[in-house]
């Protein structure tokens, strides 16, 4: 499977990565090489094989529904690139 620059551009959009037009061809050739390598999987006979999502045969553990963490809002807001009044700030979304 090979990807061209347009396809890489679309994938980058989906992944929310800004990539300059000048970088697209190199990414296209690198990603194509990786997908070519991955294409070996097509030859594997997996008829009737159950997909393995996780190495542990386990069930989701549940905990009691009570408060176990304290309010650390100020600690978390202090990490934000931009904040005001205890809120994270982003550029205006609604015109």
């Amino acid at each position: 499977m090979s990807l061209d620059s347009d396809q890489v551009h679309r994938v980058a959009e989906l992944a929310r990565l800004s990539i300059t037009d000048a970088d697209l061809p190199l990414y296209a050739s690198e990603l194509s090489a990786i997908l070519d390598m991955v294409d070996q999987l097509r030859a594997a006979d997996t008829q009737g094989v159950v997909p393995m999502a996780h190495p542990l045969a386990m069930v989701q553990r549940l905990r009691a529904d009570d408060v176990s963490e304290c309010d650390r809002r100020e600690d978390f807001i202090a990490l934000a690139p931009e904040s005001a009044d205890g809120l994270f700030l982003v550029p205006q979304v609604i015109e």
Binding site: L3, S18, M37, L41, L79
Partner: protein
Amino acid sequence: MSALHLRSVAELARGLQAGEFSAAELAQHFLDRIVRLDADLNCVITPTPEAALAAAAAADAQFAKGSAGPLTGIPLLHKDIFCTRGIRTSCGSRMLDNFVAPYDATVVDRLKRAGVVTLGKTNMDEFAMGSSNETSFYGPVRNPWDTARVPGGSSGGSAAAVAAGLAPLSTGTDTGGSIRQPAALTGITGFKPTYGRVSRYGMIAFASSLDQAGGFARSAEDIAYLMTAMAGFDPLDSTSAEVAVPDYVAALEQPLAGLKLGKPREYFAEGLDEATRAATEAAIAVFESLGATVVDVSLPSSTLSVPTYYVVAPAEASSNLARFDGVRYGYRCADPLNLRDLYMRSRGEGFGREVQRRIMIGTYVLSHGYYDAYYLQAQKVRQLIASDFARAFEQVDLIVGPTTQAPAFRLGEKTADPISMYLNDIYTIAANLAGLPALSLPAGLASGLPVGLQLIGPAFAEENLLAAAHGFQQATDWHQLRPEIAQ
């Protein structure tokens, strides 16, 4: 008595206990070595001398009170993937260059409570994506055996630091070989426990179904001390295993006589460097001379480990790394035009090339129309790889083979070709896909560079792996070989 950086963890503990030196003196010895030697190696991103000396003073107080444990006062470096409260956690990325975690990872917390003295945070491939430590935002780490060569990755800083005698212990993480491969390339012992054995809480996620924390030391015995403190159930990690943790140190003294080792023929096929093959065969002969039996086994689907991994790991990474959006913490681009521009440019500028490649591969294989062909098929092959191991372990106790195809390569040698870089992990990835414990131990030299021997065990058989490695190290002295800088 030998210099402090030449001693084992048990010897250091005895010296501290006997009052031969204080924890403060011990910490200062390693802090001085970091200052003196790390400018060339670049193992440490963030040294923490003040915090180290404060922890050492607390350790000395424990000795005075008579309440010290086996790791009290022992210096350690943490891979910069573990969150440390009040100390920057960069994950080797520009994205987190300004990130000071508001909490400690469980691994950090457990080791603090065991009394270790943290000297700092080590360099690593960005977000643990790499096999040479060349993708770090903070520059490559150099191999203490030959500074023109890479130390391996992604835990390259942690491995090179122990190899250079900058710390007796360090932590690492292993998603596809990121502990075992750098341990092999720097001539030390590196251990990846069973998936779920060590808490992932506060360990920045790369591929959640593969990531597992472990560590580096000069010997399996030292690793046993580290693992006894690190391992165990954690309610804060939903994939943490509720399986009792044995005393790994007490379990070291098991005879090798009667041990059955399986030699997978796929690990000795084309691509294995001849000198590495010779060292591996010689090490296996040592096991036989100690009473172990060796039989051939086959792991036929393991030849598809690398392609399976490069679907599963990027798929999980593309999802895990979606959290880095420039809004709540980490890097934000300057003057965003709008919210979309903020996301796109913060991620485009904050992530390096290898991370971007993997995010795009992951996004692609999970996208509409490709999911079945790539992701679902990879999960099925993953099941076949795990079944191969299950079949082999009906026949043998442990699997033995090379850790890597060849010794350390030169800086820059593989950066232009991602596939050749990915093939570094050809023998290590299968254990991650199956969730099995595995280690790499020094097994000799090839052209003056270290060769690693890999042992893989059944799930939760950590003590058997460590005991086998310990038995080998009692009978050989490959693990005592040090590069000049560490002498």
